[in-house]
Amino acid sequence: MFQNFRLSMAWLHTWFGLALGFVLMVVFFFGALSVFDREIDRWAIPSSRVEPQPMPSFDRVLRPVFEAMQPNRKSVDAMRSEVNGPMPERFDTPRRWGAYTTHRDPVLGLFAGFEVPNAKDPETAIWASRTIDPRTGASLPEDRLKIGSQFFYPLHYSLTFTWKDLGYWIVGLAALVMLAALVSGVVMHRKIFRELFTFRPGKSRQRSLLDLHNLTGVVALPFHFFFAFTGLVIFASIYFPVTHTQLEPLHELHEKLDSEETGLPHERAGIAAPIASVDAMVAEAQRRWAARGMAGEVGFLAVQFPKDANGYVSVYRAGTDRIALTGEGIHFKASTGELLREEPPSSAVDSLNEFLTGLHLQHFRHWLLRWLYVLGGLAGCACIATGFLFFVEKRKKQHARAGSQGSRIVDALGVTTVTGMMIAALGILIANRLLPDVLPAGWPERGDLERYAFWGTWVLAMAHAFWRSAPVAQGQVNPAWHEQCRGIVVLAVTAVLLNWLTTGDHLVKTLAEPYWPVAGVDLFLLASAGIAALAARKIRRKAKETAHARPGKPTEAAHA
């Protein structure tokens, strides 16, 4: 089919890259933002702008909250079809309580799962969640969307398409294609070391785009490769759900054997029992970690089968000082505080898995590495974006002569996924600051409105990109590129100003305190505005040059 291996690789790289590059752009951009998801949450929820807090006392703070928790109306309604007969008014049998925090969280996320009476599948649980201020135990309003950890982050791995897990599958396919694109890209690139430091913006547009594509792809090649790969590892159980399909009976058996081996009960005893002091168990767990030379804070605290004779408490360590995502879990009998099990060090395979997972999920405390991850993610975005631009640049003159609309459509989609996506991200931040604290009765939930603002802005940006795309069919530059860059400038500055006006936390104040989460988001927004302004000017100037240049000028870049 192809004359040689390199040409076949070029075909693969071009067309697979084009088809899934749009998804990869979203994955990389929102992945880069998710590195600072907790900080974006602080920006979006002003009442939570305080310093990170350690796990509070279970006995005094958490227990009363857990005991009061009930699933909300929405999840009860969603569960109706899975139950024979009516749903109960209250759920009285908790199956699991959990509290999760990191070294960057000033607020604490709690969840509680309950048994569902008369459920068609007895394993069914109904979940309730709540966010509290760990200093007082007071609940935060439920309608506040944590834009970083509850929107940008899920967007990164599932596009928030939850229907039949479609989003996970699309992102997984894109990650697989990413790996193929990296390998084929390396094969196509003939001067990987000789041109490692090369970017020549003065040369033809095609040549300079290809330089930038190669540069951003090659310098962060290990990052790109490992993140695409570890992303697939993390969701391997979704892509290969063998334990719940072909191997379901084996899975059940395994759970039973596992519980025999670990001594942790597999199910409720059905006999009521009190809960002893969990604070004492936490103190004991911390003493045991310290004895192993790894003193640390609690990251995750769970009670399985609360108030049952088989109940047990699990205490996991927050992994701030290493890459590997391990918990060094220690389990106690809930009714007596007796030690049930101290998890042994991981096997080699588990250690590798924990390292790969931890590398991607970054629970560690290392600000430089976090920023370097952002750099890697943005380099990935630049690589994909220049890939689109190169595709268009290489073909648009030819398409113009042939009267084809191909490059015009690709270019408009490129505008949508590059600048349009950033405009959408700014749209949700601005909506977050503009929506009133208390919404009028009958309005949708606040978090939903913020999501609509995101998707709505994106659709508008897309419409604008297509509406302005006609010049591409004549071999010219789409003016939407520089117009949307200007849009980014205006919106980013607006977001910073709105944060000041609605909360009083302007940069001078947040930098002086310093309160880095909010100062960081504001500075990042202003930096984006600056870069977008430069880009707008540059694109405009280049577009004018092209408009005056003779058509059919030969170009330098021949390969790829």
Partner: protein, 107 residues
């Protein structure tokens, strides 16, 4: 705070190392130093100095963090250093001449 200083030094060492590796190439030597003569012996010297400097950068990373974390930090620092050197060569190539010892004819 010394950790932050060590990491800053690791960044600097990586940037310098990548700068030397770039200067070892004829095309980048010309960009930075113009007509100053470039000999194969000097190119070799620059390559060795570059590699050593990257090694120093790795050493500094290892001194700060657990090896598994240090390896990641180092790889990402190399990426950042390469970008800085590449963009310096694009917009301010003469700045790299700081790293080219003896390019002005002096020993």
């Amino acid at each position: 705070m010394p950790d932050a200083l060590m990491l800053a030094a690791a960044l600097l060492a990586a940037g310098t190392g990548m700068g030397w590796l770039a200067l070892a190439m004829d095309v980048h030597w010309e960009q930075a130093c113009g007509d100053a003569p470039h000999s194969p012996a000097r190119a070799q010297g620059l390559r060795i100095a570059g590699a050593l400097s990257l090694g120093v950068s790795l050493g500094l990373c290892l001194a700060v963090d657990h090896p598994s974390m240090a390896a990641l930090v180092w790889v990402m620092i190399l990426a950042a250093a390469t970008l800085v050197v590449a963009f310096t060569l694009t917009w301010r190539p003469r700045w790299l001449a700081v790293l080219a010892w003896g390019a002005d004819g002096k020993p």
